[in-house]
Amino acid sequence: MTIKTFAVAAAISASLSMTAAAQDVVIGLSGALTGPSAGSYAPAIEGIRLYVDKVNAGGGVAGRKIKLIILDDQGEASKGAANATKLISQDNVSLLINSSLSSTFAPMIAATGQAGIPLLFAASACPKEVYPPANPLLFCTTAFASKFDSQATLDFITKSGGNVSLGLVAMAIPISRSEIESAEGLATVKGMKVADKAIIPPPTPDYTPFATKLSAAGANWVYAWAPWVTQVRTFEGLRKIGWNGRYIAWAHLESESELARLKDPALYAIGANALFAQDLPVQREMQATAKAAGATYPASQMTEGWIAGMVLEAALGKAGPNADAKAIQAAMQSLSVDTKGLRGGPIEWTAANHFRTRQFYRIYRWAPTSSAIEVVQDWTAYDVK
């Protein structure tokens, strides 16, 4: 090959690769891949990445591949802001995803608002702006929902009967405290006796003192809505001191393996995601994908990410080929995504509601007789208005 031929070939190759790159739809993600809270986000982020890889392997969406750029913000606001700026100004993303602590929300919402780019919250808490009336640029696929979670939990406790003396557990972070304070108010309205409320600081070496306080207050039911570590360690603290009551906690990513580890029939997990004990076809697909990719985290912890991937695929498909940020946002304004059983129903967004129009809850626990996780209460729907 002469130098001239080589140069022509190189030029054609470069031109083709630039054309291909121009066809990619670029999505940015800023998430807590490392840092103290990474355990709640990193598995979901891996789930999104695996889903996008699967879509790309199948030819992409609307003829375009998805280029997913993932940056670590360690759950820190300053890093979230820097990532958002980089992804918007340098990488020209058409959509931004937040999978991190609520401390990163404000700078990312501000950055995407200025640039007119949609921001999807996946695995991170849904901010109030996604509920009706929704901010046109903000969307959320995360399972947990402020106030609805407590409503569903307290409805279940009420249905279980008996005199309820309720203990409440939160971590000393704004989102957890506000949900438990909301639950406290709701419990009072429902006529329940609130025995005590434990707001537990995050770096706690021993949860037994908090458990002792709850037990001494006479709680026979405890409801925890906090990061998993606070929920489960408070429960274990209660059991260590011989407490025999019932405990219900939000079913975070880790809940399935934890129910199986603890094997306690009085520990309930309420959640909006189907656990892998269901053995759904989509869950088998997730497991196969995770295994083939040599994933760091178990597939059972990737549901949040997988669902975000499904929604992403649906939005890009609806936006059509060559869609920009504006077209993607327009597509997301009215979207219905079949979650294939991973949730109790579809994720439906309307112009006014970017959370979902109906939220479904299911409650699980360990069943000693069958030595397996069982559904205590099947999908129960709550309208989100």
Binding site: I199, P202, P203, T208, K213, R239
Partner: protein, 291 residues
């Protein structure tokens, strides 16, 4: 009685961690701000040995993790802190901060951010034990109290009667004079780092066995720091007293006042101590003046 047990367990955790701060400070005047991270490494080493099927027994896994932790401490000195010899104390302290950041990042990369349960891997049961009427604690918490007592007894004996303990005390009092009398300073410092990491690792392992392991364990190391300072940074006895004061304050606040105050009270006590008696309850006044 339950409250007394709670204070004892929390005090044991803080004591076991804070003695690591004291040992390094006592010998080299360096405040090791990576101690929490080194404690975390010890716990993750246990996770690794617990996952290694070829070891066979839990005791072998724990033993190997302890040996590895001791080695890590010595290597930190040999490969990093040794180069700080002759530099200002501030430079050495800043180096430990950098080391801590490096370890935190490396731990997530090596072991992921998942919650782990070494006790499950080692098939160690952790039943609740009723020590007194209506006062219970877990088996591993009970072991933690016993191990703390044994560790301090061993450290007191080592420092008082051991040849290397004597060298460590001499180096702490006057390094130049000790060197002139033939004490190998690098060996003494390396041993101090090794013992400090070892005791921290013991604490990390017991916490991980009792309630699981994730990267937030590093913050527990930070909470033990006020205990060491309140007791006096160069006093092992002070570390115990400081730990009991801090843990008693926390537990009483949780039980009778606002649990949220338990997070702030160690640092409030620390500030009060720094104002009233900056060298701590049992610390040596002239030693702190050098800092």
């Amino acid at each position: 009685m339950q409250i007394v047990l709670n204070i004892l367990v929390l005090g044991s955790i803080y004591s076991l961690i804070s003695c690591g701060y004291v040992i390094i400070y006592k010998v080299s005047r360096v405040l090791n701000l990576a101690h929490g991270e080194l404690m975390m490494v010890g716990a993750y080493l246990l996770l690794t040995t617990a996952s290694a099927g070829w070891l066979g027994s839990p005791l072998a896994a724990i033993g190997l993790a302890l040996v590895l932790s001791l080695t890590v401490g010595i290597l930190v000195y040999v490969l990093l802190m040794r180069r700080m010899t002759g530099e200002s104390v501030l430079a050495a302290v800043l180096t430990t901060i950098a080391l801590g950041i490096l370890i935190r990042g490396a731990v997530v990369l090596l072991w992921s951010a998942q919650h782990h349960y070494p006790a499950t891997k080692l098939h160690i049961a952790n039943p609740s034990i009723e020590l007194f009427q209506n006062a219970k604690l877990s088996l591993i918490s009970l072991i933690l109290i016993g191990v703390t007592v044994a560790t301090y007894a061993a450290l007191f004996a080592f420092m008082r009667f051991g040849r290397w303990g004597l060298r460590m005390r001499a180096t702490g009092q006057n390094a130049l004079l000790a060197a002139q009398r033939g004490v190998n300073l690098h060996a003494v410092y390396a041993l101090a780092w090794g013992i400090s990491t070892f005791t921290g690792a013991v604490a990390g392992m017991l916490i991980a066995l009792d309630s699981g392991l994730d990267s937030t364990i590093v913050m527990i190391g930070l909470k033990a720091f006020p205990a060491a300072l309140v007791g006096g940074l160069d006093s092992l006895a002070g570390a115990i007293i400081g730990s009991i004061i801090i843990s008693a304050s926390e537990v009483i606040l949780i039980q009778h006042f606002n649990p949220l105050l338990s997070d702030a009270v160690p640092f409030l006590i620390l500030i009060a101590m720094l104002v009233i008696r900056p060298w701590g309850l049992f610390g040596t006044r002239e030693e702190l003046d050098r800092v």
